[in-house]
């Protein structure tokens, strides 16, 4: 029906553009997190992740060894190459340099950056101050008429040279000092760092931050909590779908009603109960809670599916003398595989992603933290500003659900449809 009356091609362009826009809004936040998780901490704080593909200008502090200093006339001179013996200084091209951490890129490569002691007239009195000045390496400094504060710079007494630094693009430098150079001077350069992606954040989070433990805990919570309810719910669903007994309608209504009972209501009474019967806050408690909380949806989904199975097959089996137990295990259960798969995916995603039940029913020590609790209670607090670590942690926690999601989307969609629309 693409080219029928009433469908204009202009509309289709608008449609395409709006869908692209929506998809971008939906995708960009996750993409940002993914990109950030592979970036170095220094790069994250320098530029946004959307510029991760471009070089970052970063400042470095270098202290070249003072060993090679020689005396030339009154001055002491140290020269060499800044990139020697220094690793990780970006592309090896200096984009700016300086002699203070305040202004690490004050001068351009090829210039000389010098500090003079100058005399100024401040409030009618002569005073001295430091002045940093950049000038071509083969030229002479030209002093301005006034300093930053607007005080007049005197030409008499003339400015006295303290030290200067000349750096070339390739890192060759010449450091001149009025005093003897007996210890390594500090020089600053800015260099363009090429985009760099590392697995450091993941390594940190998995080795030193106990996230591996949390990952195992999450898995430990999710798998039994997914498997155990299935059989219990399947038998019940079969009874509600294919067996005749009084009270069936009422029970189905109850299940539908229980679907919407807010979990919050169950927390306090059940925790009290668990404490009384000795389960306390433990993995067993979480498994029981998840099993029960997933039960209404499981029964509802499976019953809806089983009701739709062909009546003939089941009646034939009954005529042939099969008991309900045999019909269930040999016919209904295998045929219901798609619904079982749908429910398992739901339950797995739900238990994996759950924060509330884990917070309440698991012990609150860090040994039993699942990933959601770890992120929400620990990392967001203690590492609140460490975006690379946070991003990596988030991705460790959403990797498995995303994998399940993309590999079994078909079942998920089918389950959603069975659960919501008849």
């Amino acid at each position: 029906m693409d080219n029928i009356a009433g469908q204009k091609s202009g509309l289709s362009i608008v449609t395409n553009i709006s869908v692209i826009a929506l998809v971008l809004i939906w995708l960009v936040p996750t993409l940002g997190l993914l990109v950030s998780s592979f970036r170095e901490r220094a790069q994250i704080s320098e530029t946004g992740w959307w510029r991760a593909m471009f070089p970052v200008e970063q400042a470095y502090r270098i202290s070249p060894a003072a060993d090679g200093a020689v005396q030339e006339g009154d001055l002491w001179v140290l020269s060499g190459n800044l990139f020697e013996n220094e690793e990780g200084l970006g592309s090896g091209t200096v984009s700016g340099f300086g002699i203070t951490s305040r202004a690490p890129g004050a001068a351009q490569p090829g210039q000389t950056y010098a500090r003079y002691e100058v005399f100024v007239m401040e409030d009618g009195e002569q005073d001295d101050t430091n002045l940093e000045i950049a000038y071509p390496a083969d030229g002479e400094p030209e002093f301005p008429a006034a300093d930053e504060d607007g005080n007049e710079i005197l030409t008499d007494p003339p400015p006295t040279f303290e030290r200067s630094l000349t750096v070339q693009e390739n890192g060759d430098f010449r450091y001149v000092d009025a005093d003897e150079i007996d210890r390594a001077p500090s020089v600053y350069i800015t260099a363009n760092t090429p985009p760099e992606f590392t697995l450091d954040n993941y390594e940190t989070i998995l080795t030193s931050d106990n996230m591996d433990r949390a990952f195992i805990n999450t898995l430990t919570v999710a798998i039994p909590a997914t498997i155990i309810p299935i059989l219990v719910a399947a038998f019940a669903a079969y009874a509600l779908a294919w067996m005749n007994f009084s009270g069936r309608g009422l029970l189905i209504a109850c299940v539908v009603g229980l679907l919407v009972v807010p979990l919050q209501i169950a927390l306090v009474p059940l925790l009290t109960l668990h404490n009384q019967i000795g389960i306390g806050q433990s993995f067993l408690g979480v498994w029981l809670a998840h099993t029960a909380f997933g039960m209404p949806l499981a029964i509802y989904l499976l019953r809806n599916y089983m009701v739709g199975l062909p009546r003939d097959i089941i009646e034939c089996a009954k005529v042939d003398g099969a008991t309900d137990f045999q019909i269930f295990t040999r016919i209904v259960l295998p045929l219901s595989f798609p619904a079982l798969a749908s429910f398992s995916i739901f339950q797995f995603l739900w238990t994996w992603n759950d924060l509330l039940v884990a917070k309440v029913f698991l012990p609150s020590n860090s040994e039993s933290w699942v990933m959601t609790v770890k992120i929400a209670d620990d990392l967001l607090g203690s590492r609140g500003g460490d975006w690379g670590i946070l991003a990596a942690a988030a991705f460790v926690s959403i990797a498995v659900p995303l994998l399940v999601f993309f590999s079994m989307q078909r079942f998920l969609v089918r389950g959603l449809l069975a659960g919501s629309v008849k």
């Binding site: 009433g6 936040p29 992740w49 659900p401 919501s420």
Partner: protein, 325 residues
């Protein structure tokens, strides 16, 4: 014993135990209680048929009643007692709660959530479902918009913390503001509107859900009705609003109510984004503030949530009964 090993044993005991229970109880019923091979076999078979459903249902009923029905009563009873649970104070927890500013803010915000989130998610879901319907890459688009469904609320909150970050080198919103020369702002601290920034996270998650279901409903619309409208000269907007939407109204309502119920349960997003600060508290997160500290108050909040959900519950049951008849 390590929890993982404990987990494996629990799976074996849990699944094996269930299987053994179902098998053994059936066996006992058929062989010993009401054996079919006696003089009385006719009556025995019918009696066994009467009992068997309850054998099948017993474990499920046990879980449902202990973990979902009992707590409704248990929570209500507990909410009538004081903090330590030894003194009956009637509705004291409720009256004290209603008089508090914090509860009123949470309640008001919750109303905002219940109105905005289902409406926005359903609207966007319907929009995407309709727009992608004829698109060649529609399935890919749907898949990407559906993806947040798999992400935990905590993970989603973290993803959006990046977007909302105050630092223009991290948060994309402030990067855009920065580009236009505006000062960075912390959107989570703007009074009132910060709620909407938090709500949007849930909209972002739930739109995929609405889209999947509404998309299936749109596909289920009989082609003839659309064709007839086209022949009558209806434009695409008329077709959508006057032909398609009325036919899937039932599904829209189902999606709407499902998301509404979810909204009343989600505490994770507020908890991770602001911790309830800056007047963003909602009832579920307000309850968690009292959990472990004042069980009386916590159960009172839980019961308020339960009361708010009840109309939806009744409506759901009525609908389900209609369908079965």
């Amino acid at each position: 014993m390590s929890p993982a090993l404990q987990g494996i044993i629990t799976i074996i005991i849990g699944v094996g135990g269930c299987a053994a229970y179902f098998y053994a109880s059936n066996y006992v019923l058929d062989k010993f209680v009401f054996p079919a091979r006696t003089d009385d076999h006719g009556r025995n078979i019918s009696r066994a048929t009467m009992i068997r459903p309850w054998l099948f249902l017993a474990p499920a009923i046990f879980f449902l009643s202990l973990y979902l029905v009992y707590p409704v009563v248990g929570s209500f009873v507990r909410s009538l007692y004081n903090r330590s649970g030894d003194t009956f104070i009637g509705l004291g927890n409720y009256t004290q709660m209603f008089s508090e500013e914090g509860f009123r803010i949470a309640f008001f915000n919750n109303i905002l959530w219940v109105i905005f989130v289902p409406a926005a998610a359903t609207f966007l879901g319907l929009l995407v479902a309709q727009l992608t319907d004829r698109l060649k890459w529609g399935n890919l688009a749907k898949s990407l918009i559906f993806m947040p469904m798999a992400i935990s609320f905590v993970g989603a909150s973290l993803i959006w913390k990046f977007v909302y970050a105050n630092n223009p080198e991290i948060g994309i919103i402030n990067a855009v503001r920065d580009y236009f020369g505006m000062n960075p702002i912390d959107v989570l601290q703007i009074p009132f509107w910060n709620n909407f920034f938090i709500m949007f996270i849930l909209v972002w998650i739930q739109t995929g859900f609405a889209m999947v279901i509404l998309s299936a409903a749109l596909r289920g619309i009989p082609e003839e009705t659309v064709e007839a409208a086209i022949i009558d000269g209806a434009n695409p907007f008329q077709i959508f609003f006057k032909i398609k939407v009325p036919q899937i109204m039932g599904t829209i309502v189902v999606v709407w109510t499902t998301i509404t119920i979810l909204v009343l349960k989600v505490f994770d997003i507020v908890y991770a984004m602001t911790g309830g600060n800056f007047d963003t508290e909602i009832l579920p997160s307000y309850m968690m503030d009292y959990m472990f500290r004042d069980d009386g108050r916590a159960t009172a909040v839980a019961f308020v949530i339960m009361v708010v959900v009840t109309p939806v519950m009744v409506w759901n049951i009525v609908q389900a009964r209609k369908e079965m008849n």
